[in-house]
Amino acid sequence: MIAFNKYYNQFNILSISLVVISLFLLTFKGLNFGIDFKGGTLIELRSTDSKINVSSLRDNLNSMNLGDVSVKNFGNETDFLIKFEINNNKNIIEEIKSNLDKSFGNTFDFRRVENVGPKVSAELLKSGVIAIVVALTLMLIYIWIRFEWQFSLGAILALFHDVLVTLGLFSLLGLEINLSIIAAVLTIVGYSMNDTVVIFDRVRENLRKYSDIKIYDLTNISINETLSRTLITSITTLLALLSIFFFGGEILKGFSLAMIFGVIFGTYSSIYIANTVLVRLRVSQKTVLREDENS
């Protein structure tokens, strides 16, 4: 049996620091919103001429007064991703196309064009935030119906931790937040909850079974009993996600990365946050027995 409970304090301090750092990053550095939430234009280009590079492309586009233009390689040397802010010119794509054709010859294939206006991006951001809030609320309601309030609090704190730290990491690394990241965050919420609930189920069962063991040791027993399941499920989920990350193409990179972070944090938090909340709230046999009498 691994003594997870020996490190409860240390890891709690670590988690609190991570959350504080994440909040700090989110407040002061902010998130790198993609065009879905900020508005603007995204163009994915493929060039047949391998001599064209990011800087020559950037110089060319800068001459067009597009405002803040970002040009990056996308996956490989001949694919480029161009992004610029909201532009009121309706024919901007055509103008860029003719400008590029003039400067580089007809070497570019416009593989993807996305253009999001300010109104739509504001709506998408709003509905994304609503989606996450609704998800957290529903999880809260569900867990509140299923478990005693101490458990609910533990699970919800674990959820907030996972979402905040994942977003904090995105802020730190400057990774783009787009629609698919919202999907990833919601799936993380589901996954983290899932992991926590499985351990809690066992804690509650053990509370009824062993009347003489204190919650400090009881959580440790429960974590150990469910440990192989926790690890196996995390591993298979991570295997699937790593496969998406490495082979699923550039478009799914951010999504799968967010999920990979989320699964790791989710597994960690269900052991070190959810359970320590139970310990700190001094959950005992009485907690579950009282509930049994009521129902």
Binding site: R112, L124, A135, S180, A183, V197, D201, E225, T237, G248
Partner: protein
């Protein structure tokens, strides 16, 4: 939990076979209509354009308010009430009347039978709201009035957009209303989105008006610029001789004399009459052909044109003449449309995404299968068989509903593969624990299944909740993700509790006495 009746066994086998058959219809062609279904590919996988158009209703409202000012004046003139200081303030009207008529005005506007101000009994609201302040009346559209107006301009715009897209002849376009002032257009497999965009971006409001040289024209005049800036701006009368509504047909042609591309048009009876009259009285004058506030050309009238047909020249290329003819044939939009969101994926990228998604699925699948087999041996094999059938079930259900598969949708399938083993793992781990205290294999397996059930349900319900929220909040590709993730939960539960359990039961009954079974 271990008992399976014969009926159940047969049902499970039949259901599995059925879904294998349905899922495989994506690869083979069946003669049978029911079986011949396919999963739709989303725009991000097959290539195409997604356009969200917003109708700018402000000009419509302003136009209606202008028309209203005339109706109000005439309506009360008949009743011998003089409307004073009638002013148009953008989307509002203001006027005043003599003190003793004030009540009459209010009564007229608030009468449920009012001709001037239609009443909508369903919404208990008039079309117009009237307020009085310091002896001045203000009239503007009520909330319901605006809603009605928006709905009707959305209906009209939808029809015109459909006609324009049909004229271009793309396959299976999807044109839908969104809210009351938006139109969503999905065009799969489109190779030239720029053309569609430019066609949808034009209101195509065509008018024929005389060029005048004094602003004292009784209808008023306005200075308009030429479409190609070839000539100086010209002063054009506001009196409309003909509009696009009078057009029956328009076609691009090559003028054999001048060797220029032109657009020929045919007018309806009313239009032909008016055109004949105008050209006979206006010989020597310039007739401006105005499209969306810009002059295309302003030829000098040399002869009366009574045939009801004519041609527009304006330095067109064949493409631009074709597009103009198309716009004129399909009619003018009631209001300008703005493209507020566009997502276009080329067919190459779509194919690349399919390939990448399939490779990721295959590799993810193999990794999970190998890991599980190494970990659980025989039961790993059972889990893996279940996993394969789970995939067939998932793809089968998507096929039956002819659901749309997107790239994030493929990610959802891969994720389902990773998470689907969770339920079996929970069960097997529980059985292992039970076996520590229980020597009888059958009892241990049975209680393993029973005791793990709540955890499995809890775990899946939480993921399902997340998927449901995503489905209702998300758009396009994200919806595809929530769909595969959500359906995946049901197929996983079915495959774990019926297929995997059946296989487990069959194996355990044969090896009842064996120790260290799992």
């Amino acid at each position: 939990m271990l008992y399976f009746s014969k009926f159940r066994i047969i049902s499970v086998i039949l259901i599995s076979l059925f879904f294998i058959l349905i899922a495989s219809s994506n690869l083979f062609k069946f003669e049978n209509n029911f079986l011949n279904k396919k999963i739709n590919l989303g725009l991000d996988l097959q290539g195409g354009s997604y356009l969200l158009l917003e109708i700018d209703n402000n000009p419509v409202i302003e136009q209606k308010i202008q028309n209203l000012s005339i109706s109000i004046r005439n309506y009360f003139k008949d009743k011998n009430i003089r409307i004073k200081n009638l002013k148009i303030l953008g989307q509002k009207l203001s006027f005043s009347v003599d003190e003793n008529f004030k009540q009459t005005i209010l009564d007229t506007f608030n009468d449920e039978e009012s001709e001037l101000n239609p009443y909508y009994p369903r919404f208990k609201s008039h079309q117009l709201d009237i307020t009085e302040e310091n002896n001045i009346f203000f009239v503007n559209y009520s909330t319901q009035g605006i809603v009605k107006l928006k709905t009707s301009s959305q209906d009209q715009a939808l029809e015109i957009v459909r006609r324009r897209i049909d004229e271009i002849g793309t396959n299976e376009p999807n044109i839908l209303k969104r809210g009351n002032d938006r139109i969503l257009v999905e065009l799969p497999g489109l190779d030239d989105p720029m053309r569609i965009k430019s066609l949808l971006g034009k209101t195509a409001n065509l008018t024929f008006r005389f060029v005048t040289n004094n602003d004292q024209d009784s209808f008023g005049a306005e200075k308009l610029s030429y479409e190609d800036d070839s000539e100086e701006d010209a002063l054009v009368s506001k009196r409309i001789i003909l509009s696009g509504d009078n057009l029956l047909d328009a076609q691009p042609r090559m003028d054999s004399e001048t060797n220029e591309t032109v657009v020929t048009f045919t007018l309806d009876r009313v239009g032909a009459k008016r055109f004949g009259k105008a050209t006979s009285t206006g010989i020597g004058k310039q007739l401006a052909i105005v499209l969306d506030g810009k002059i295309i050309s302003a030829p000098v009238i040399r002869d009366t044109i009574a045939s009801g047909s004519g041609q527009i020249s304006g330095g067109f290329t064949f493409q631009s003449a074709t597009d103009l003819a198309l716009l004129l044939r399909s009619g003018a939009l009631p209001a300008p449309l703005n493209i507020i969101e566009e997502r276009t994926v080329g067919p190459d990228l779509g194919q690349d995404s399919i390939n990448a998604g399939m490779i990721a699925l295959a590799i993810g699948f193999v990794l999970v299968i190998v890991f599980i087999f190494v970990k659980y041996k025989v039961f790993g094999l059972i889990t893996n068989i279940t996993l394969i059938l789970n995939l067939f079930l998932l793809i089968g259900i998507l096929t039956i509903f002819e659901a749309t598969l997107t790239l994030p949708g493929i990610a959802g399938i891969i994720l389902t593969v990773g998470m689907a083993v969770d339920a079996n793992v929970l069960i097997f781990e529980r059985i292992k624990e039970e076996l520590k205290n229980e020597k009888n294999n059958l009892i241990a397996f049975d209680s393993g299944y029973t005791k793990s059930r709540t955890a499995i349900l809890d775990a899946n319900i939480t993921t399902l909740l997340a998927a449901i929220i995503l489905f209702f909040m998300g758009s396009g590709p994200i919806k595809g993700f929530s769909l595969t993730l959500g359906i995946g939960i049901f197929t996983t539960l079915f495959s774990v509790y019926f297929i995997a359990r059946l296989l487990t039961v069959l194996y355990v009954y044969r090896n009842k006495e064996k120790e260290g079974l799992i």
